[in-house]
């Protein structure tokens, strides 16, 4: 289709709103492509997604059912077991591969839960102002007053350990910065002419917020969420390490490190391998986020 040609994308006179949007996205992509670290990060994330999708194909063994306990316990890395085996004779590479599913699920669910909450609180607060704003922002400030991991710990302690509760706890503790950001964006949009025009047409506040304010805040909040993903992965892994996230025998990376802790002196690979997995994945998200920030923020590009 000729519509998507390079000239069409990069034209100085877009014929439609869609063309302008797509063209802007394409320019961002071009700028991002020139950033080597960001491309490495993107590559890592693509590999993570492939790993999660193809886990049954690339994992040679069952991640939960171990092998022969007499002969296959705590084997060092070899061609049979790329990352060695753990104390229950399970293949660590297979567990790491399946664990990517848990990591992706946590990141995706936290993003799906926390982003709308932050957007809603922020836009409502910014749009209405006054008492509503004061009350909502005070609540936001109170959540921001706890270090994230500590608050998540307290919530998980109350809700009980488990991957679902860990996801809920991380979501509860991640929305406040998004609310802050959405509010700041809303304050700049609120008095724009097109909002006044819609108001004169008699649109309800809800309709204005949902249909006209939220879409404009969405992109900056989504970028912020991307930047936070590495942090979310680390918090989830930390909860898993403390035994409050995914429960055994689930192959969650943080919990796997905790399981390998008692063997670390003689069998270093048991906790080192999942640690490398966490490290590489969050490095990927950080590289991509760092590049995105450079591209999106003209001040940093200077």
């Amino acid at each position: 289709m000729s519509v998507m040609s390079r000239e069409w994308l990069l034209t100085e006179q877009p014929a439609s709103r869609r063309q302008a949007h797509v063209g802007q996205a394409y320019r961002t992509w071009l700028a991002l492509r020139g950033n080597r670290l960001a491309m490495v990060g993107l590559g890592i994330i693509v590999v993570l997604i492939l790993m999660a999708v193809l886990a049954p194909l690339i994992a040679p063994y069952d991640p939960i059912q171990g092998g022969d306990l007499r002969t296959e316990r705590l084997l060092p890395p070899s061609w049979q077991h790329l990352m060695g085996t753990d104390d229950l004779a399970r293949d660590i590479w297979s567990r790491v591969a399946y664990g990517s599913r848990i990591t992706l699920m946590v990141v995706a669910l936290v993003a799906v839960i926390a982003t709308p909450v932050g957007l809603l609180v922020g836009t409502i607060s910014g749009y209405f102002g006054g008492v509503v704003d004061t009350v909502l922002m005070r609540i936001t400030d109170i959540f921001l007053a706890f270090p994230q991991l500590v608050l998540a710990l307290a919530f998980v302690a109350a809700l009980g350990p488990g991957i679902e509760n860990a996801i809920i706890a991380i979501s509860i503790t991640s929305w406040p910065p998004y609310a802050r950001l959405a509010r700041a964006e809303t304050l700049t949009i609120r008095n724009a002419d097109h909002i006044a025009a819609i108001k004169l047409q008699g649109a309800s506040s809800l309709r204005i917020i949902w249909g006209h304010v939220v879409p404009l805040c969405l992109s900056s909040v989504v970028i912020r969420v991307t930047l936070d993903m590495a942090g979310i992965i680390l918090t989830a892994a930390g909860l898993g390490f403390l035994g409050l996230g995914a429960q055994p025998p689930q192959p969650e990376w943080g919990a796997m490190i905790a399981e390998g802790r008692q063997f670390i002196i003689d069998n270093w690979w048991v906790s080192t391998m999942p640690g490398i997995a966490i490290f590489v994945v969050s490095l990927g998200f950080n590289f991509l986020g760092d590049g995105l920030r450079d591209v999106m923020d003209p001040k940093a590009r200077k």
Binding site: A145, P147, V150, A154, A230, L242, F279
Partner: protein, 353 residues
């Protein structure tokens, strides 16, 4: 205009920063009440029966009922909250099921260890992070800049508990360069009298040099790891503040006048970058608290973080909520401190208010 500002305007005698600090104090009180409310709510949604936790599951019906009333569980929720606030304000955080002692005493015992660890870490983070950030800014876009950048991103990405375990394996178990988990060897433990609760300070005050070196060898690894974590943030912020300053006209003026480049960087630019930098350092001091929770668990460091995770393991809710509240309060206090420092250090803010 808020009420505070109005009265201030009428009096006219008070310097403007008093009003600013007044507003900060109001915010502080509201936030602290909010903290209390959040911990109170968490304590109420717990599926653990607080009465059973207090009397044990063998108590008779009448004992159960008596304690139920004593804990005020028959009263409406808001009244329970007031009782809770009253208790906390009187320093009563309840008793720990695990240690059988008041939670406040436990926290008083463990807090100095956390303070020592995070102070050590912030010193490393600042003393290494600031020069690195300056260096990266001066050599912007060059190899050094890239290295500092990747070093920072690695610090953001590595799970600190895993780095700790790996560090223990390599530097303690294999190489034997540092001492292992804990704060000091058992051989010295009972010789050191508790004065401040901070090992390095206590041993120094008592002139016990052997014990001091031993304690230093224990803190070296966890402190450096935690310091690296804050170094990542501090060096990055230093770099961006320095870049902003180095682009200013007064730098060009200084260059034209022939001031030495090193003097321009360290005396002119860094001095102006220092004001926002101080707030950044105060903020990352607060963030260290959360890194400390995981680090202490890995290194068996008997601080607030390990107390918190131990209590979590045994569902000791009084202890969990008490520790959470204290960490939250310290975090808020540090945020406030960074605000106050900003006001005090920046002459423009000081005058405008």
């Amino acid at each position: 205009m808020t009420a505070v500002e109005e009265t201030e305007g009428r009096n006219g005698a008070l310097p403007p920063w008093v009003g600013r600090l007044g507003r900060l104090l109001v915010t502080l009180v509201i936030t602290l009440v909010g903290l209390l409310f959040v911990t109170f709510l968490i304590g109420r949604v717990v599926p653990i029966d607080p009465v059973l936790a207090a009397v044990g599951d063998r108590a008779s019906e009448s004992t159960y009922h008596k304690v139920y009333l004593e804990l005020g569980l028959d009263k409406p929720l808001w009244e329970q909250f007031l009782i809770y606030v009253n208790n906390v304000l009187h320093g009563n955080l309840g008793e720990s099921v695990l240690t059988n002692r008041p939670v406040l005493d436990d926290i008083a015992d463990t807090f100095p260890a956390t303070l020592e660890l995070s102070t050590f870490a912030i010193l490393i983070g600042t003393c290494v992070g600031v020069p690195l950030g300056v260096w990266a800014a001066v050599r912007q876009g060059r190899l050094v800049d890239q290295i500092v950048r990747v070093l920072g991103l690695v610090g953001y990405s590595a799970p600190i508990f895993w780095l700790g375990l790996t560090g223990l394996l390599v530097f303690y178990a294999r190489l034997g360069w540092v001492a292992g988990p804990g704060r000091i060897d058992i051989a010295y433990q009972y010789d050191v009298e508790r004065i401040t609760g901070m090992m390095l300070v206590d041993t120094l005050l008592q002139g016990q040099w052997d014990a001091f070196w031993n304690a230093l060898s224990h803190i070296l690894l966890p402190g450096t790891l935690l310091g690296y974590y804050s170094l990542a943030y501090i060096s990055r912020m230093t770099r961006s503040f320095m870049l902003a300053e180095l682009g200013q006209e007064y730098i060009i003026t200084a260059r034209v006048k022939g001031v030495r480049e090193s003097r321009i960087i360290w005396r002119h630019a860094l001095r102006n970058a220092a004001v926002p930098l101080v707030t950044v350092i105060a903020l990352s001091y607060g963030n260290l608290l959360q890194g400390a929770v995981l680090t202490e668990t890995v290194f068996a460091w008997p601080g607030l973080g390990m107390y918190l995770t131990n209590s979590l393991g045994s569902a000791d809710m009084n202890a969990v909520l008490g520790a959470t509240l204290v960490i939250g309060a310290v975090f808020v206090a540090l945020n406030l401190l960074s605000d106050v420092l900003y006001t005090v250090l920046d002459p423009r803010v000081r005058r405008r208010g």
